[in-house]
Amino acid sequence: MRTVRLIARLDIKAPNLIKGIHLEGLRVIGDPNVYARRYYEQGADELIYMDIVASLYERNSLTDIVEKATRNVFVPLTVGGGVRSVEDARKLLASGADKVGVNTAAVRRPALISEIAQRFGSQAVVLSIEAKRSGPAQWEAYTDNGREHTGLDVVTWAKRATELGAGEILLTSVDQEGTRKGFDVALVRAVTDVVSIPVIASGGMGKIDHLMEVIRDGHADAVAMADVLHYNRTTLDAIRREVLAFDAPVRRVA
């Protein structure tokens, strides 16, 4: 039986943890390390850090934050934002990341996925896709927080990335992100149906029903949450207890 991972997602505009709606209108939440530690202690299965301005300003700012996290967070860390080369990936992995997320640079040059996978293994490469609905059962991939078109069909791009050696897909619905109105379940299902690698559903978590839907109907392998945790609407341990009561396949934490 699969085990669905519950992941806390931290969007970063260094040095702060931030949060937006539809990946825009960013608000400062606080010190990322304080939140990371809290989510770890609440039993997060993994953490994801995304530097959401790195690709705009062509710089890396995450290594310090990740290095700090390794002092008190002992679950896998995925780190992305501004990764443009094998060397960028190496730096993040050396500062404590277990996997690196790629988006913009991989859209520009898909071979980057293979290069990182060959050097560090597929398990270290997470393709981040920002998906916007473009028609019935159709989504287009975006970059730069849902601002830049790529012309790529999400499902086609996800399949291609799998063939190139991506180990996992972080699938963010720009339409649902920050709305607390639920995941784009059809989007998640469209991708999980065609790829053999795990898919992390992201964007829209507002209540337990949303989580159950995306696990049951979307076939998500993992679910990323941000808003619902950052504003203390609920806690990860409470979420885990509730979905376990519905027999959801998540890890039991002692």
Binding site: F74, V75, D98, S196
Partner: protein, 217 residues
């Protein structure tokens, strides 16, 4: 009480920072080193490892660290191999051709079977949180006197691997895990040598508890 000391072998393979930080979190004094003398003379020795079996052995050989590690093991002080650092304890690894390992535990490291009993495909690598337990034929107090002394059987740990150890002697298997119907070796132990396939440094409180017990051994 004097601070316990742990030496982590630095040979360019794997996320050593996280391993060091996890031991520090449990109050150990951690030395990360590639120096033969410090490795052979360690109080406790940790061999991490990520990547391919052959690459890890080659990196140890190039740095002339095989003999210092074997010398440490003969001292009967506690040794822990993590992930590929556990796999290379065996005699032979089958990843990208056959490669000799350290041979401290008789047996081979083989690819996890990719075919499920119903004929469908098992996803490889095995990535994620999977419960570990003593093997069915386990006897006596092997579990409770190991680094799992505080670990309730069926506790999940974090795994990332495509190959699994197949020790020749069942007695060398300390823990197993069921990955989609395939039994994988989660931990091995022979005398002072312990190896874990999962990443205790990434397995939350359960992982830290196992490392704490190891440091107390």
């Amino acid at each position: 009480m004097t601070q316990k000391s742990v030496v982590v072998v630095d040979y360019g393979m794997g996320n050593v920072l996280s391993v060091c930080r996890a031991f520090e979190n449990q109050g150990a004094n951690v030395v990360l080193t590639g120096q033969a003398g410090e490795i052979a003379g360690a109080e406790r020795l940790i061999l991490p490892g990520v990547g391919a079996f052959g690459d890890c052995m080659k990196a140890l050989e190039e740095r002339e660290l095989v003999e210092p590690i074997l010398e440490f093991v003969r001292s009967e002080r506690p040794f822990l191999g993590i992930c590929v650092g556990m796999q290379i304890l065996l005699e032979i690894g089958e990843e990208f051709g056959e490669h000799p390992g350290l041979g401290l535990i008789p047996g081979r490291v083989v690819k996890i079977d990719t075919t499920l009993s119903d004929g469908s495909t098992r996803k490889i690598p095995h990535i994620g949180w999977t419960a570990i337990a003593p093997p069915a034929e386990a006897n006596g107090n092997r579990w409770t006197t190991s680094m799992f002394g505080e670990t309730v059987p069926r506790t999940p740990f974090y795994f990332v691997h495509s190959f699994t150890a197949r020790p020749t002697n069942a007695a060398d298997v300390l823990a197993v895990a069921d990955y989609a119907g395939a039994t994988v070796t989660a931990a091995v132990r022979r005398d002072n040598v312990t190896g874990v396939q999962f990443h205790p440094e990434k397995s939350g409180a359960a992982g830290l508890a196992a490392l704490r017990r190891f440091v107390a051994m």
